[in-house]
Symmetry: C2
Subunit: 420 residues, 2 copies
């Protein structure tokens, strides 16, 4: 992709007060554009990152044995009245049709998936079943803030699991934790699985998945020696105290919650009469778990956890492109020709995703600054200087040093690195 | 995929009055489930079809040089007031936040993309630019009907093009027509490019893309000898009259509109002050075109145009799976073993997408009926009978005859057919 042709380039000034790193860099870098408070357009560069996040999530859901479907965002009022949440969920957007019919805009999907599953599940043979979607959610937040971290319209993966009994649900629960850990590992993020309030449906804890960063909204009590972590809201333990798991000293940290998992018990199954016939022909309640993961929020959380004063440092697995090639403008036509050759070789012969900064109206300094802002993991420079040495400059975004590689070797090295 | 594990299997009775073929077969086959009038959940089987449609559309948009982005569905009221459509568009869903802020649910996106492009386009060097999204639209239809053909919530690809002058827009317009023709060809559908009313912004025609089927909502005047076609609403010509293009006799036909393209002139650019500086440093208006394509509607239109009394006949390019393997239940364990071997070979060794009807509680007759209902293009049968001849039965959904192929040859033949 030629940067000169890309829609949504970097901007020196951004229209809104960007109070958080993710808002600042995603807006400045041309990843997103704000339409209204908490409502963003994903520009081509940002959409590439979001799709990569979604695909990693999708693959791990498939590995978990879950099936993908797609539920609507317009939900009949009656479904939400049945659970009482039409009145109690204050972030629920409500819509009235010209026909008089009222809808909620889906803030979550228990009210839709439970009656759906009730239509298809009859026998113990139909269970367990695990269903997920990657879909847009709507929440009427009083104060949308922190860039794409807390929006009124946002992307989410929501998985729901349905089980014959509580034991089966409890056996699946750690499988879901493992899948979430795998997702985070693949995105190069460190995560804390944090015990939190289980909500009104259970006496047990729920689990939140936090990326540790000072920009986090949640305060956590964590152990530096073992994996103990609790949301401060529910924790009986304090900073400086003794870890209940390993006895070492507890500390406090801030985290961004990117996922959470809940044991819903039979709460929604009761409301929507979701039951099945067991091996003995008896009617039994279905047990449910739900497992959320914020896809758009994840993009923002990665920026919060992985940036420096110059811009974003994308993990390779979700970077918008593998490589950014900076061509330093020159009057010598050989420089452009060398850059074009390199691009052709990388893109067409080896299928490497390249963002090629071919702008004629940007200085070397502007191009380097934009490359740092955009944060693609590997930067290659083609200039008069590199050409004089028959070389290409190679620099990782996350490192300070640049090295020169002979032009002949560089494509092979890139392909090796991309596939590593 | 094992049919016994698939969520959303075929149903003998469906809960709603399915007045159209697409509603009937998509509901009975377990492709979609109706949540409310005009609002559907896409079950795993249906979502596979929808994703294939989306991917074909996406590829052809990329071939056209368009860039993908993703705009929100919640649009600030102010944007829609600027164009006057807050009041004049009667299908606009309106939402009021607890903060007092009002939004429209996006029924189309000119009100969002025009100011967006105005923020990024300054110079003639930034034009032309072609931007599209595949996104969910909301329209408060008085009467949602015809299954997934006219919904209140539906999927759409919307492309917008931005040009330096009218000539450039007019030169792009036939490119867009070609891309739409290519999309339809790849889905195995015959299409009529139909002249229709250009709407309030132009004196010219717009163009609609119709799939011809008696189930169509639109009446068209068409020529059987050349490609002349007009929507009856605007046509001066009549059935039995003389074709203005080739002189042969005109007839009437019904069509389902799956796409449309409009020359928007400078209407929205005027409203949102979208202009650019030309080569001489003068400010100029930007010219716009818009190009819609109903992705969910397309799925329904294909069913209308390609079914028989037993069910759907999917074109290969958008079928949910390439092959359906029917295992006829047998007490001989060799039958299951042979089916499992075949599946393993197809799926794991050759990457063929197989729906494997492994149900123990369904008769051969039920399985054959379901295979016809679901409409996967190729059906393979493994039974005691085929096994006795060391063969597999091969039958195309669109043909009547079944043939026996030696078991050893069948995988090779399937792979050859899939890649053809």
């Amino acid at each position: 992709m030629r940067y000169s042709k890309l829609f949504g380039k970097s901007r020196k000034s951004i229209p809104t007060d960007a109070e958080s790193a993710n808002a600042k860099y995603l807006l400045k870098g041309g990843f997103v554009e704000q339409l209204s408070a908490g409502i963003y357009t994903w520009l081509p560069l940002g959409l590439r990152v979001l799709r990569k996040v979604e695909n990693i999530v999708r693959q791990e859901m498939e590995n978990l044995g879950a099936q993908e479907l797609l539920m609507p965002a317009l939900h009949p009022k009656e479904n939400w009245e049945k659970t009482g949440r039409w009145k109690t969920m204050d972030v629920l957007f409500k819509v009235k049709s010209q026909t008089g019919k009222e809808y909620a805009l889906g803030a979550t999907h228990e009210e839709v998936i439970t009656p759906l599953v009730a239509r298809f599940v009859q026998s113990y043979k139909d269970l367990p079943v695990h269903l997920y979607q990657i879909q847009t959610k709507y929440r009427d937040e009083l104060r949308a803030k922190s860039g794409v971290l807390r929006g009124r319209e946002f992307g989410m993966k929501d998985l729901y699991s349905f089980h014959r009994n509580h034991e089966e649900l409890q056996a699946f629960y750690p499988e879901a934790i493992r899948a979430y850990n795998e997702i985070m590992n693949r995105m190069g993020m460190e995560i804390r699985v944090t015990e939190a309030s289980g909500g009104p449906f259970t006496e047990k804890y729920s689990h939140e998945f936090h990326i540790l960063t000072p920009a986090g909204e949640d305060a956590l009590v964590i152990c530096g020696s073992c994996d103990f972590a609790q949301n401060k809201e529910i924790s009986k333990f304090k900073k400086g105290g003794e870890c209940p798991k390993c006895g070492k000293t507890l500390s406090e940290a801030k985290g961004i919650e990117v996922g959470n998992i809940f044991d819903l018990g039979t709460k929604f199954a009761d409301t929507f009469e979701l039951s099945f016939t067991d091996e003995e022909g008896k009617k039994q309640k279905v047990w449910m778990g739900c497992y959320g993961f914020g896809t758009t929020r994840m993009v923002g959380a990665v920026v919060e956890a992985s940036h420096d004063e110059r811009g974003i440092v994308w993990p390779k697995s979700i970077a918008p492109f593998d490589v950014q090639v900076v061509e330093v403008k020159s009057k010598k036509p050989e420089v452009r020709a060398a850059a074009e050759d390199l691009i052709r070789d990388l893109e067409q012969h080896h299928g490497v995703d390249v963002l090629y900064d071919d702008r004629d109206d940007a200085s070397a300094g502007e191009k380097f600054a934009d490359a740092d802002l955009i944060g693609i993991p590997l930067r290659l420079v083609v200039s008069e200087k590199t050409l004089a040495k028959d070389s290409v400059e190679w620099k990782f975004r996350a490192q300070k040093e640049a090295t020169l590689f002979p032009s002949k070797e560089v494509v092979g090295k890139v392909v090796e690195w991309v596939n590593a």
